[in-house]
């Protein structure tokens, strides 16, 4: 029988679902079995339904000036318990090392004195803010939320592609993807125990409350959004709603006497923790860009005075600078005394003597990235770029070696993705999210899998036309708990199955009393002439 996987030809990369043509990896067996018998038309129908549901819920993003439903592919990306254990340890290790680096860089600067990282890396960084020096964050946490981008290379090993410790976004899509998948495709979840993702907001709130200034008994946490026009506004609103806290814009806040207040209908109320979703540059016009109308003047002074905690902290940009990225394995060894769990992608540092020439010589075989680009902007993939682009890049790198890094091109792993009415391999990455509450770095099981929807494309950002996949982490051992389908089949009458007998069982549902209508209907019907 012909099915949607028939024409699936493996690309020249690690495939997440198939070991070799026709041979499926164990974790994917149940999903493949569930998907295979489905007609292409039926899949398309479900995909359309999903798009409609996203549009109605307002889960959209702006692409080329148009409001589009969030693109979620129907085939999940699956990580088994072992793989996840590795990822989770690696991500948490990385966050701990970056925390240590930040606290060092805004404090004693030991790593620079000891020659682990060159001074110029810190002093040249546009994200190194003197204003952040000396802010001692409660619990020592500067990275309350991190998003570490991982890829799987040709051999199937996870590698870190970049760190995001300023305002990483995308976690709302993890939550929404799962919500959509369980509704549109409940049968997929039937055979496997997928670890839920809905604990994120609770963890985040706990971490934010734990980050409150000392001595505040019942801290008030707010989410600070640039406003409804921001591409991630949906996420800001979702997090605020799930945490049950206020979603504030800059002009909802006011600073007086180094305290932050928010304007409410019952007067001004003190604010203790600001989960801010805008860049340092716009946060406080008194310290940074004076033309910012979305920030809150004075908020940084309040943070310096210790009356309010900013999450994530100001100045974190020095830790997710892509040039620093090349030093993170050393930082892990230096600060933690551990070997890195997840390796980097092999990289060149054009700002070091000798390396610049090496980069320029083989620029057509490397991936060139600006050190503080976001959203896939400015990346040049050597083997795919035309002569003009390469020439321009060569000049740009030669002119500003500190502004670029070069990496070996990694053929990102592929995953079957619905393209038209067939499955085709598309490149994917993974962004796990970590929450640091000061005692523990917790990693949300799964994370955001982004997929490049065009064939062969290696850039997965949604701003570049990328899609996403629901990311499953399988629990160890066989599925045990009653899953979604069971509940649907029994009509939700679990209450009646009380093993101890009648005591706690509920009464029958009340129903309207009155004469039995049957006779009345007969008589009423007979009045017709």
């Amino acid at each position: 029988m012909a099915d949607i996987f028939d024409a699936y030809a493996l690309a020249d990369a690690w495939d997440e679902m198939f070991e070799r043509p026709g041979e499926v990896r164990a974790a994917y067996e149940p999903v493949l079995a569930a998907l295979q018998p489905i007609e292409p038309g039926e899949l398309r129908f479900r995909a359309d339904q999903m798009a409609r549901a996203f549009t109605d819920r307002g889960v959209t993003y702006a692409f080329a000036g148009e409001e589009r439903p969030w693109p979620l592919d129907l085939v999940p990306r699956i990580l088994d318990a072992l793989e996840w254990d590795l990822v989770q340890r690696g991500v948490s290790q990385r966050v701990r090392a970056l925390e240590a680096y930040l606290s060092d860089a805004y404090g004693p600067c030991r790593a620079f004195e000891d020659g682990v990282v060159p001074w110029r890396l810190l002093l040249n960084s546009p994200h190194f803010h003197r204003a952040a020096h000396g802010i001692e964050p409660p619990g020592g946490v500067r990275i309350h939320v991190a998003g570490i981008d991982l890829v799987r290379d040709e051999a199937g090993d996870f590698r870190v592609l970049e760190d995001n410790v300023r305002v990483p976004s995308g976690v709302s899509y993890v939550i929404e993807n799962r919500r959509a998948m369980t509704r549109i495709f409940p049968s997929l979840f039937a055979e496997q125990h997928v670890v839920p993702v809905d604990g994120y907001a609770q963890r985040l709130l706990a971490a934010l409350r734990a980050a409150a200034p000392d001595g505040v008994g019942d801290p008030r946490v707010v989410v600070h959004t640039p406003g409804p026009s921001n591409a991630a506004y949906f996420e800001h609103a979702l997090l605020a709603r799930l945490m049950g806290v206020q979603l504030v814009e800059g002009h909802d806040l006011a600073c007086r006497n180094n305290r932050v207040w928010m304007r409410t209908t019952r007067g001004e109320m003190p604010v203790h923790v600001v989960y801010r979703r805008l860049d340092d540059d716009f946060l406080d016009p008194l310290h940074f860009r004076p033309d910012s109308v979305i920030g809150c003047p004075g908020i940084l002074s309040a943070a310096q005075a210790g009356t309010v905690t900013l999450a994530n902290a100001v100045g974190n940009g020095i830790a997710d600078d892509k040039l620093l990225y090349t030093y993170v394995p050393d930082l892990i060894r230096y600060y933690l005394g551990e070997e890195p769990v997840l390796p980097n992608v092999e990289s060149y540092r054009p700002d070091e003597p000798g390396q610049l020439d090496a980069v320029l010589d083989q620029i057509d075989q490397l991936v060139i990235k600006p050190v503080d680009g976001a959203g896939g902007q400015g990346i040049v993939i050597g083997p795919k770029a035309d002569r003009d682009t390469l020439e321009r890049t060569r000049e740009a790198v030669a002119a500003d070696p500190r502004g670029w890094i070069a990496q070996r091109p990694v053929a990102l792993s592929t995953s079957p993705t619905l393209a038209g009415d067939r499955m085709a391999p598309r490149h994917i990455d993974l962004r796990p999210f970590a929450v640091n509450d000061g005692t523990d770095v917790w990693v949300l099981p799964g994370g955001l899998t982004r997929v490049a929807l065009q064939e062969g494309n290696l850039i997965v950002n949604s701003s570049q036309g990328g899609g996403s996949k629901d990311t499953w982490v399988l629990a160890e051992g066989p599925a045990e708990r009653p899953h979604v389908l069971d509940f649907a089949r029994t009509g939700g009458t679990h209450i009646a199955e009380d093993p101890d007998g009648g005591d706690t069982a509920l009464d029958v549902v009340p129903r309207q009393l009155g004469p039995d209508g049957a006779r009345g209907v007969v008589q009423e019907g007979a009045q017709q002439q």
């Binding site: 049950g244 304007r263 003047p297």
Partner: protein, 310 residues
Amino acid sequence: MNDVILSRIAEALTWTGRYVERADATSRILDAYLHRLLEDPWRDEDVACRSLYAILGVDAGAERVDMQQVLDQLAFDARSTCSIEGALGAARLNARSAREAVSSEMWECLNSTWHALADQRLAARRTGPYAYLELVRRRAALFFGLADSTMSRDDSWRFVVLGRSLERVDMTVRLLSVRVLDAAHAPDWPTLLSASGADEAYARVYGGFGDTPRVAEFLLLDRDFPRSALHALTTAEECLAALGRPRQDPARRPIGRMRTRLEYLDLAALEEQLPLLLHDLQQACTASAEAVAERFFPYQGPVEWAQEGA
């Protein structure tokens, strides 16, 4: 910890309630008018349409107006908040900016309605506007139904209801004003009743057809009908009493005064007092809305910085 709401959110909630109610009321009025026009082919379309414009406070212009233009301007114009589509769009934007304060279901109701309007509008060009108008009324009912069943009865809820109540009074007053100010060209009493969705309720209370000035009495003074001015004022006053100061509340005063005036009105004098009464009602609502804005939504413009010595 969520015992308070941001001023910006409170304002957005008030306007959400207001705009949804406005879309609902406008749809009812258009429906009643269209129906009347079809039933009475001798009516002057231009005159009838002009009175519609007058009710909704839109300038009709000097040209002859027909029903299609009415629909284009009062139903389908997304740029004007006096039209159905504009009001729903504004409601959606307000709800969006208060996304964490309205329940998800309410937001989805507005958002999916907004997305459904384009298709309905196309259909309306072919098969007439009834399905469009009905969709609007149903979704408005759904919205307030969801508000009723998913929002806690806290201040957020009160701001939504306050907005809706003030808009209700305003719409009822507008309907009656046309009849009072320009009786010759105004819609007849039964049309007024059905434009307020009150025909069946009226028939039950007074028995029979609403072909008398008693309709005005019903629309203004009925204690039980939710769209009557008295009922809407009472609801608005309850919200304000819970929101504001216990006494000397500048937002509550005009509403409370108007409510008592309506309650103790001498029915015999109603007809003669009607123009003044309607005028005062509108003034009271405006005054109260302004006092609410001043007290609860103090606007803070963006801060501008001057370069020292520049």
